[in-house]
Symmetry: C2
Subunit: 196 residues, 2 copies
């Protein structure tokens, strides 16, 4: 299959991480967001939502939305439990990530790293909601190795991508010991160099 | 099972609609958001995200996030196709709804209906993004009865709840014929009185 994405986007990195853990050899096709390459007619023919990542299947059919792609790739593997309740608890975190985490953690980082805004100029409401999201993760992870069970699932992968870079958006991860321990465990599982 | 929710919230109505279509007789337990009832210690013990809806299973275990609940209730039924690609196309819309639709369509309605803001005082960026979301739905629905296949799925249910009330938030549905036709078909399937 082919993964169309931009490696500066955590949403795309999620898919790359999952493919790596699953030992897949999908081709990565770079899409430069800053050059508007997700808005060209050719791209919109693949994904009319105009967003990366896109998973292109062997037969040319496409799936959009990072967490929908994670679910598709992970079905029937250890990255997504089959048991309905556990699967629902994974879904709970996937939807929470898109609504209550990404719009604050990722957006603050985008504005500091890519728009060059100083952290002090970020929208205080976004910063507050981002800290609330990190506090929630810290509470959930207390005494746990991963979000669901004893090993990594797509719930961890979805949350890791932007959380491990949250400090670049002005968030302070250091006082959150459960969170930083979890980041380290995820990075070890994924073979990533420590982020901070 | 028990559905904890507030009937003023479209996210809660999604679950009520799905339960109705599935012929379930779950008990509805009212939670008054405006009175802060989703932030009490008893509620947070059910859902530490502090949000409605919550599905409480017979054994007391709980599932949060409207779209995770929809997926859980719909598994193995006609509301969620088993075929992996079609299921991924449902997921695509569920995640898109939470990231690119609800934060604009639902939030504008909340501000006009519950905070009494005139539509002219809404954040123009939110209004623009809300219109973009409705335009996307209009394009996707052209020539189709429902979003996935010939009958209603949880992708339709998730998108219907706030879309059918979008006019209350100042959005003009009338010029969008594919969208209003789809709303009517969903309302017929659900036995709802026409919304506009």
């Amino acid at each position: 299959m082919r993964i169309h994405g931009d490696l500066n986007s955590g949403n795309c990195l999620k898919v790359v991480y999952a493919a790596r853990l699953l030992g897949r050899d999908d081709t990565f096709v770079p899409v430069d967001l800053m050059k508007g390459e997700a808005r060209t007619p050719a791209f919109l023919a693949m994904n009319d939502m105009g967003q990366v990542p896109v998973l292109e299947l062997e037969d040319g059919r496409c799936i959009a939305q990072s967490n929908a792609i994670l679910r598709y790739l992970a079905r029937g593997t250890a990255l997504l439990p089959d048991e309905p309740f556990l699967q629902a608890k994974v879904d709970e975190l996937l939807f929470w990530e898109q609504y209550s985490h990404e719009p604050y953690i990722a957006v603050c980082r985008f504005e500091t790293v890519y728009l060059g805004k100083p952290a002090s100029a970020l929208d205080p409401d976004k910063v507050k909601r981002g800290n609330n999201a990190l506090d929630f993760m810290e509470r959930r992870l207390a005494g746990r190795r991963f979000f669901i069970g004893e090993d990594i699932t797509i719930a961890d992968i979805a949350l890791l991508a932007y959380t491990r870079l949250a400090h670049e958006g002005g968030f302070d991860l250091a006082p959150r010991a459960a969170l930083t321990g979890w980041i380290k465990r995820c990075e070890d599982r994924l073979g990533l160099a420590p982020s901070a």
